[in-house]
Subunit: 368 residues, 2 copies
Amino acid sequence: MTTAFERRTRDCQAALRDAGADAVVLFPGSNMVYLSGFQEAPNERHLLLFVPAQGEPAFVAPTMYREQLDTWVADRRLWDDGEDPLTLIEAVAEDLDIAGGTVLVDDHMWATFTQDLRATLPDAEFGLASDVLAPLRMRKDEHELDALRRAGALADAVSEELRGLGDEAVGRTESALAREIDRRMADRGAAEPSFDTIVAAGENGAKPHHRHGDREIAAGDPVVLDFGGSVDGYPGDQTRTTVFAGDPPEGFEDVFEVVLAAHHAGVEAVEPGVPAEAVDAAAREVVADAGYGEQFVHRTGHGVGLEVHEPPYIVAGNERELEPGMVFSVEPGVYLPGEFGVRIEDLVAVTDDGHERLNDSPRTWRPL
Amino acid sequence: MTTAFERRTRDCQAALRDAGADAVVLFPGSNMVYLSGFQEAPNERHLLLFVPAQGEPAFVAPTMYREQLDTWVADRRLWDDGEDPLTLIEAVAEDLDIAGGTVLVDDHMWATFTQDLRATLPDAEFGLASDVLAPLRMRKDEHELDALRRAGALADAVSEELRGLGDEAVGRTESALAREIDRRMADRGAAEPSFDTIVAAGENGAKPHHRHGDREIAAGDPVVLDFGGSVDGYPGDQTRTTVFAGDPPEGFEDVFEVVLAAHHAGVEAVEPGVPAEAVDAAAREVVADAGYGEQFVHRTGHGVGLEVHEPPYIVAGNERELEPGMVFSVEPGVYLPGEFGVRIEDLVAVTDDGHERLNDSPRTWRPL
């Protein structure tokens, strides 16, 4: 994999030169993983990767990382707790000859570090690293697609198991089911949940980002199950809406059929050359025609890669054309406040001549 | 609790006026929770809380949060996916009369949002919200101390259980033990691990931020166990170094005794009026006197509150005087690359006349 990380870095450097920029400066997170292979959680210590348009990249890192800075990047400049890391940053910028140039900072870099960079490099112009990195990261290579496929299969398997609980789920809390999902994902080899697992029963399903709480699942409750687990650094993300037992409330089946039709319409629209917003429009049109346009309160999807939300976003106004290797969610939803919500989500990869679904568990609301 | 959040906001506004600043602008995370009670993970949508020095605070949020924006802050301005949130931000800044003022942004705000604020408010001066919020957040109120005590007791209980495994732990992987720790914390009511649980066996213990991996625990391995679970939003964080079975390597007991003495020396130094760096010096002196100064590669501790790493940092150069209500870790360590590491950590609260330990599980390396 060292080769892949170094190759991506060389691509990033070429993109920097094309853009007339002088460097990207990265912060712990997915961009740092993408170029260096080094993974760490964002934290308050100065841990930065400088990639100049020309020459070799360099890390500035706390000395405590000496043993674990497991990356092909050879230039490492370490500072001890109690020392001022800004001195090192100034020296690195001088060595890489970027102090007076255009510096693209990690989109997720904390304000405390961007403020430090502005203070340390007063002559630099600042922009965002996604200008050069997002186009590279959007097109997944075979290694990445393989991990995403396996994450998809893992989430599908757990979804089928969960929806097979039927009566057994009734009387359990949303939180208990969420823990059960997380445990089953870990048992199947997920390193961690891709995001906070969502189990949203009844009226909680009408809150698109409700996570889970003390509410008990009752017979007849529509329950939104939205989760995924991470495989080799790549996340799963799928949603099914189910009724574990009993009869759903009046109107539920109609709404469900609308959302399912919208989901299929969105997926069918996916092929190279189509603008991202056309996928949103295809799904949204089905929902609007059924009279629920106002209740579909979010975009149709988001890209998925080293991050579970990344470009391309499947939203009105995004005219970027789809390209082979892009992976994103198609997840229309309808939310009726105080009653219930329905959302159905698969991840989809753009192929040379169409698309490939990365999820394929049954899309019925009935227990499996 | 609404009252507490509003009271903190009024304190923040008073601090803004004292500092001559015009507003803080917060991003999803602990500052937003502290003032509004609203919790969400950082994400790519514009979800910002504006708190002006005078008048009422306002949220800018995606419409999809309408149902779940559970906070005392009444002014909410919602934008739909596909709309431009910067228009709303411009209007809010105008209404609150801060567009030409000094705006303190959340220290953890992503660069993508700080860049947007700079573009939208070209006449504003920018600073960091911690200038006014950190001094408030450092002094925990009784509600916060109570949650931290319960988080401490929870971590202690799981630590004792784990160290009681003895022989049973031998042959299991670090990752399997980490999952076991996480499961036991969840069973005891932790909402989530406070950070990635660390189980570092043998030579992995020499990497202070090693998490866990496929390495199997062997008899005689020193194993660093560093973990905590979140209770009512407040994290636990403690570390013990144990040997589950067999005899530790040569030299281990000596190093262990040095680290334990340093830990006690650090804790004993904690009382109001003492500078934070004096606690670091007290622990470090013990380690240095024993000849391991070069192997104690990190600061002695970090504050703990809504975040597991927050001010005050217990580090050389931090002259801030300790005050009642401050809570932080005291966690000296010695790391011998290729051999093993030892770290011993308790959380400590500063009281009116000294300190209170929030952890009290046995500090021995022997199995319990």
